[in-house]
């Protein structure tokens, strides 16, 4: 919470990136508390590790200071406060944390627990669900990573190719 406030207030983008890495590590520890080791690992590696480095590399291309806003933006603050209040209000409808007899713990999850070892010979339930039962979703995720990577590569390279070669149209 304090970290996010600091991120919002800070104008020096280098500090913002470092604080975002700190935030990712904090989120990873929250995930550890929830026993979601896979997610915690991803958060620590992607959020705190690689994305920090990539953001620093992007910072290398731009200026390190954010331009100060000319006037306090009232409408965005109101919108974000409203959305936040709506989300907090919506959490009152969620079942209490860790309770066992919710629908999500009663239909699919027992099936996975009972059958995943038998079906796939894979002890890690998360891996079995991600790569086998929900394999199509994971294919989609990989495609998203692929598409995003190609897009950024094209954006970063297209300009340079257009600048160095005079024929232009190929970029």
């Amino acid at each position: 919470m304090i970290v996010t406030l600091a991120i919002v207030r800070m104008r020096n983008l280098f500090g913002v990136i470092v604080l975002a890495g700190v935030y990712s590590f904090l989120m990873a520890s929250v995930m550890m508390v929830y026993d979601a080791v896979d997610v915690a690992m991803t958060e620590a590696a992607v959020g705190a590790g690689v994305s920090t480095v990539l953001l620093l590399a992007a910072l290398h291309l731009t200026k390190a200071r954010e331009y100060p806003q000319p006037r306090p933006a009232a409408i965005p603050v109101l919108v974000s406060l409203g959305v936040g209040a709506a989300l907090v209000w919506a959490t009152y409808d969620l079942p209490a944390f860790g309770i066992a007899d919710t629908p999500i713990n009663n239909h699919v999850v027992p099936y996975y627990f009972e059958n995943s070892m038998k079906d796939t010979n894979v002890g890690n339930l998360v891996a079995a669900i991600l790569a086998d039962y929900r394999g199509f979703d994971t294919l989609g995720e990989v495609t998203v990573v692929f598409t995003a990577g190609i897009g950024v590569l094209l954006l970063l390279k297209g300009r340079r190719a257009g600048k160095s070669s005079s024929d232009g149209g190929s970029a």
Binding site: V37, D38, A131, V142
Partner: protein
């Protein structure tokens, strides 16, 4: 950071263990936490650390840019190809049971192939992005 002795020696010592840990995360995902995404990011992290300390040219001598950009689509193709094998043998898309004699072992094998595809795409995308950013800055 060309002349920082402690960083250079320390990173040289760390990188083999990072790559080994990535392989462990990748191949032990059947029984422990991890999988292609995590292993891919750790692999990319090893390459990026090397590039940060030893310079981008050294890193591109070890991991050439062409190879990285080849691996980005190759991972997706491995994943989709594993799925297409199912169609080829008359089952559904991404039905791994065609990959072996008895279904559990075949599905375990399918998960292995698919995770390799994930690893290749994720790690090479990260490294390719890093290369692109750092070359743009010069």
């Amino acid at each position: 950071m060309k002349f920082d002795l402690i960083l250079r020696v320390g990173v040289k010592l760390m990188i083999p263990f990072m790559l080994l840990f990535a392989l462990y995360v990748q191949l032990h995902a059947d029984y422990g936490p991890g999988g292609g995404f995590q292993a891919g990011v750790i692999t990319a992290g090893a390459v990026i650390v090397y590039a940060l300390i030893f310079g981008i040219e050294e890193a591109q001598r070890v991991v050439p840019k062409r190879l990285v950009e080849l691996l980005v689509p190759l991972g997706v193709l491995i994943y989709a190809g594993t799925g297409l094998l199912g169609i080829l043998f008359g089952k559904n898309f991404l039905d791994y049971s065609v990959l072996g004699a008895n279904p559990p072992l075949a599905r375990e094998r399918g998960i292995l192939f698919v995770e390799i595809g994930v690893l290749l795409t994720v790690s090479s995308t990260m490294v390719a992005l890093f290369y692109a950013f750092s070359e743009r800055g010069r």
